[in-house]
């Protein structure tokens, strides 16, 4: 029974990580940039919820989502001059943005953290078949699942989704076909922002103490998930994020109490093993040699 309980929680966290991973993967797909500052989108959204404390729920949700999407759009503009520099420089630059934002939050709000008091009643649990399930788990699963499905629909079924996938697969050929790559990149950041915004809302209920590392703590394991799953394909990236979130919860319930401090050790040993055996990613098939025009 304890495993079943863990399983439910594991699926819930996995779904959230999958959303974060998808956001990172979406941006990487289109411009080959790993946005280390993706976590700060979540942090910004969480602080937006904090500042709107006491206001109507709808206002808080809308403001938080708007802040996250806007910040994502600003990041796109900031990263624009980096299109032509080496990948190492880009990596360090996004790291710098992440640290800058974290430390700005630290300076402004301190390390203590504050309770966001957002939809706290969703943390109450109901019992079904001996399982204690919190409402936010159900809500998170539903919202997360719907968001993933909606994103997949946009990418699979709409023109702009097709153009985004084309730019991700072969940007040169996409340009030659008249795909407006600049607009597609902006779209990728907006969608990634929206995904991050949704995660923020669910996470702020589950982890109401808002600190400057609110998002960073989620971004790192989700990024590990993206790498494990396969960086340049969206579904594998999302599955990887899910796997890491899922494994985190399952491991913490499987490990005996005293050994739980080794959770990250076990997790990263698993990750390293996977990367050694399947360096292209766990959920990616055999890769074709990449051709360019």
């Amino acid at each position: 029974m304890i495993y079943l309980q863990a399983f439910v929680d594991a699926v819930a966290l996995g779904t959230l990580f999958a959303l974060v991973a998808m956001g990172i993967g979406l941006v990487f797909g289109v411009i080959r940039l790993v946005n280390f500052a993706h976590g700060e989108l979540l942090t910004a959204g969480a602080y937006a919820l904090l500042f709107t404390k006491g206001m109507p729920i709808v206002v808080r949700i809308v403001v938080s989502l708007a802040v996250v999407v806007a910040l994502s759009a600003v990041m796109e503009v900031i990263y624009r001059p980096l299109r032509t520099v080496s990948p190492a420089t880009v990596l360090i630059a996004t790291f710098a943005i992440s640290f800058l934002l974290q430390n700005a939050a630290l300076l402004a709000f301190g390390t203590q953290g504050e309770n966001v008091e957002f939809l706290t009643e969703l943390n109450k649990a109901f019992v079904v078949g001996g399982l204690r399930i919190r409402w936010i788990t159900v809500v998170g699963l539903a919202v997360g699942g719907l968001t993933l499905a909606a994103t997949a629909w946009v990418l699979r079924r709409t023109d702009v989704g097709l153009q985004m996938r084309a730019a991700a697969a072969d940007v040169q050929m996409a340009r030659l076909l008249g795909v407006p790559v600049r607009r597609v990149v902006v779209m990728a950041f907006l969608v990634a922002g929206l995904l991050a915004g949704v995660v923020t809302l669910v996470l702020a209920v589950q982890r109401p103490l808002i600190t400057p590392t609110f998002g960073f703590q989620v971004m790192i394991p989700a990024l590990v998930g993206v790498v494990v799953g396969g960086l340049d394909r969206l579904v594998p990236a999302a599955l990887g994020g899910f796997a890491v979130g899922f494994a985190t919860v399952m491991l913490s319930s499987l490990l005996p109490g005293a050994q739980r401090v080794f959770l990250n050790t076990v997790l990263f040993v698993l990750v390293i093993t996977i990367l050694l055996v399947k360096p292209d990613g766990l959920f990616v098939g055999r890769r074709r040699a990449v051709e360019r025009v």
Binding site: D159, L162, D170, M173, R175, L177, V179
Partner: protein, 237 residues
Amino acid sequence: MPEPLLEIRGLSVRYGAVTAVEGVDLSVDAGEVVGLVGANGAGKTSLLLAVTGVVRPHGGDVLLDGASIVGWSTERIARAGIALVPEGRHVFSSFTVEENLRLGLLGRADPAGADDDLAWVRELFPVVVERADEFAGHLSGGQQQMLVIARALLSRPRVLLLDEPSLGLAPAVVDTVFSALERVRERGVAILLVEQRAHVAVAFADRTHVMRGGKLVMALERGHGIDVDEMAEAYFG
């Protein structure tokens, strides 16, 4: 005299210290096919990449309908009506055939007439269009080449640039491709055909230029008999 549809004037392309194209003058009019042949490294592909804005010319000008397009982004040039079918069959292999074709349609400046063009392309390459739901990567090499040409045609180009369209294809497929290109020419599209195999180009094009060391060194009329010594001289100097 009216202006040619595509005019290249004194075009030069350099990669660092290496000159790939030097002072090339070339024009293609609507409904005309101009061939461009030469050995590997002669600068043929660089010329196409400069026309499509993939590489920035070092000097000279490219005019579409008399207006310079140098400095335009690749996507803008594509939308202005210049389509490139690059060497090496760049299908989106993890996309379906239908999605590949849809990308072509999305590149049209004018959505009107899309259905007619689809019907036309279906007639030109029935084998490809019939396999709409399959992954493009599962098509044979010849079918992929047809798909790339079909996709380019659906963007309704006024100028079609082809880089080695017959490379590695079975003779029957080459026939299908070239009879389709004949129909494209009849529609009034200007075609610039890059080929390594000179006889293919000379037989099909109205005029064929031989390129060597980045320069045009010789021009051949259609049906010009190919003299081996003369060609060897033009190709290799």
